[in-house]
């Protein structure tokens, strides 16, 4: 079941969030198991399944990153978690510095904490930049339906995933 058609929405990378939410609420009223509590079991199970698809789909579609991954997968691109292990070349320098700071902190050098906080902020900014880039590319794809754009999006997604992992790691250390 394609989430876009389930929601009755055009298959696009840029989605109107309020329109999506409106459809989610409308379809919830239609399919939620509460509406079928006194119906025969067969109908109840169907509603439960439809409701699960609706909720799973809403989670994917409302998040621009998951939405892009979903479309890429549908278009036959390989978007796997394992790819995030390869350091994107443009991040090599940052990762090197981060590892140094982490090493210092683990050896009890509290001064490293400040450089870690600095790195944290830098990564958050990078993530925001990636998000912006994703929005731009999404618009371009929606207009052109050009697979080359999807290829670019895949690159951004991989980089973004890597940055996200860095953010999580730094936050764990700072906590």
């Amino acid at each position: 079941m394609d989430y876009f058609s389930f929601f009755g929405l055009e298959r696009k990378l840029t989605l109107d969030a309020s329109q999506l939410q409106k459809r989610f609420y409308e379809l919830s009223r239609e399919y939620h198991p509460d509406r079928f509590a006194r119906k025969p079991e067969e109908e109840r199970l169907k509603a439960e399944e439809a409701s699960a698809i609706l909720n799973d789909g809403y989670r994917v579609l409302r998040d621009p990153v998951q939405r892009a991954e979903y479309v890429l997968k549908q278009e036959g691109f390989d978007v796997g978690e394992q790819r995030s292990k390869d350091v994107p070349p443009e991040l090599l320098e940052e990762v090197f510095e981060l590892n140094m700071a982490l090493e210092e902190l683990r050896h009890g050098d509290e001064d490293a904490r400040a450089s870690l906080a600095e790195a944290h902020q830098k990564f958050i900014n990078m993530r925001a930049a990636a998000d912006e880039e994703l929005t731009g590319l999404g618009q371009r794809y929606d207009q052109s339906q050009d697979r080359a754009v999807l290829q670019q999006i895949r690159g951004v997604l991989n980089r973004r995933r890597y940055i996200r992992n860095l953010v999580t790691e730094v936050e764990k250390e700072l906590a």
């Binding site: 609420y25 509460d34 509590a37 909720n55 809403y58």
Partner: protein, 616 residues
Amino acid sequence: MSQVFDIDFESHRKAPIVGIDLGTTNSLVAFMDLTGPKVIPAPDGGNLVPSVVSYTGGEFVVGTPAQRLLIDSPETTVYSVKRLMGRGIADVKDEVALFPFRIAAGSESVIRLELGEKTLTPPEISAQVLGELKRAAEAFLGETVTQAVITVPAYFNDAQRQATKDAGRIAGLEVLRLVNEPTAAALAYGLDKREDGIVAVYDFGGGTFDISILRLHGGIFEVLATNGDTHLGGDDIDNRLLKIALEDLASEWGEDLSHNGEAVQTLRRAVIQAKEQLSFVPFTNIEFHYRGKSYQREITREVFRNLISDIIDRTLEPCRRCIADAGLTVDQINEVVMVGGSTRIPMVRCAVETLFKAKPHTELNPDEVVALGAAVQAGILSGAVDDKLLLDVTPLSLGIETMGGVVSKLVHRNSTIPASAKEVFTTGVDGQTNVLIHVVQGERELVKDCRSLARFDLTGIDPMPAGAARVEVKFLIDANGILSVSARDLRTGKEHTVEVKPSYGLSEDQVEAMISESIAKAEEDFQERQVREARLEADTILTATEKARANDAWLDLTDDERKRIHDGVNQLLLVYHSDDHHLIRAKIDELNEVTMKLAENMMNTAVRSALKGTHV
């Protein structure tokens, strides 16, 4: 449907669905009438049924009468059993130390309480409370109640939810929905009157703490995030006070009373009273009288505050995490609703007000609001309420064990339910015909830090080279927050059998056995009542016949008629002590038959003497 008015009479005519708040300390039942949700009074006239069950003298005593037995028979009287639902002995070691009742051996996956000669599990004990509420509802509504909505703490895991559902089934109730307590409270408050808003529900009860953040939009109650602690509540506050008092007594009286069930329960009542008073007055006394000795200790709000401030703090961290998980900041929260008896404590209100920068709603009785919300949800299910809809979430992430004891998350916490996830499994060895899947709940990365939910054995895989089998397993968390698993062979398309071994809780067979036992018990009760009633009828007719022998009418009978009455009486006396109410009733009917003439004669005699009387 009515032809003239657009009223759905159909949904009201159908058997009622009640809403039940099965609380740690108190339980309530409510229903939806045409004007809104109403609490149904308990047998003692109040609205609350204390969640206390005693097994004394071979019989169950529930609610207020059982509360009295907490002091007289502490070893066979259970309170706060909700804290034991869906848990194993290792989870509750600390608190059972304070419980006066004994835990039986073999309580690893289900706790077994030894109450005299009976061993009972928490769902069976909760079923007694539910049964009491069911009877109260039936007496009030004048009809049989078989369907219910039961509330659970939002942060309850799969096993705790399943245990609650089992309790309902054992009590003869089909649990149509488990609703999270804070969400139910939001429904009761009817805050959907406002077109669009964000509401936080802070639910601090007797044994559990929950925080939920909801978006309300045109009648839809969408939970954005939830958090909590299923082991944090008013009980913990009581235990603090209790500990102080016990220490005082140890030094003042030179006596350690902590293992004396009767003394501890009496003292517990005293500290609860003091705690409750402190919500209204700046200082009070803990007063305890026992075996002719007296103990008194003044507690000021200041002392109380210091004593419990860390407990209150423990509720604030889940609140902060919940706000973050909802993707919000404190300023975006429009309203805060307070639920649960512990929110009466002024320090709790103050802490909540400070954190959320908003004056919390306290208009509805915090003890009743959850049950009222459950009744609204019952109305939604019956179709009587059709403008509201609840979209709740699963509180904990669901994952499976992978290589090296690492958890692979399938459904993340705060996902709207029903939610599902699919995963394809294959075999690792040639000819392997089954795959064992270990499902866990929790947020940590390692299996050992999460809670084991169940082990699913995927059987019936055709023997093939390793890696050739492809079985798709679907994990579905239903609207009650309970997991089910189904599997399909991707090559053949055929369904696979999945054998479930729950890590905590009762197996399906055990629940079935408990249900049939409770049905058998209900039938036994019914039989006993029938026999009792038949004997009462027999008493009536035997006494009447005996009296009639002194009447003039007796003399008007023929010898044969008198002999037949005599035989009838003897026949009835012979079967009087049998267990067969049919037999007793048959003999009553026979005696009735042969005494007909006598009764007529007596009537005539009475009329004659009455007439005589008027002529004198």
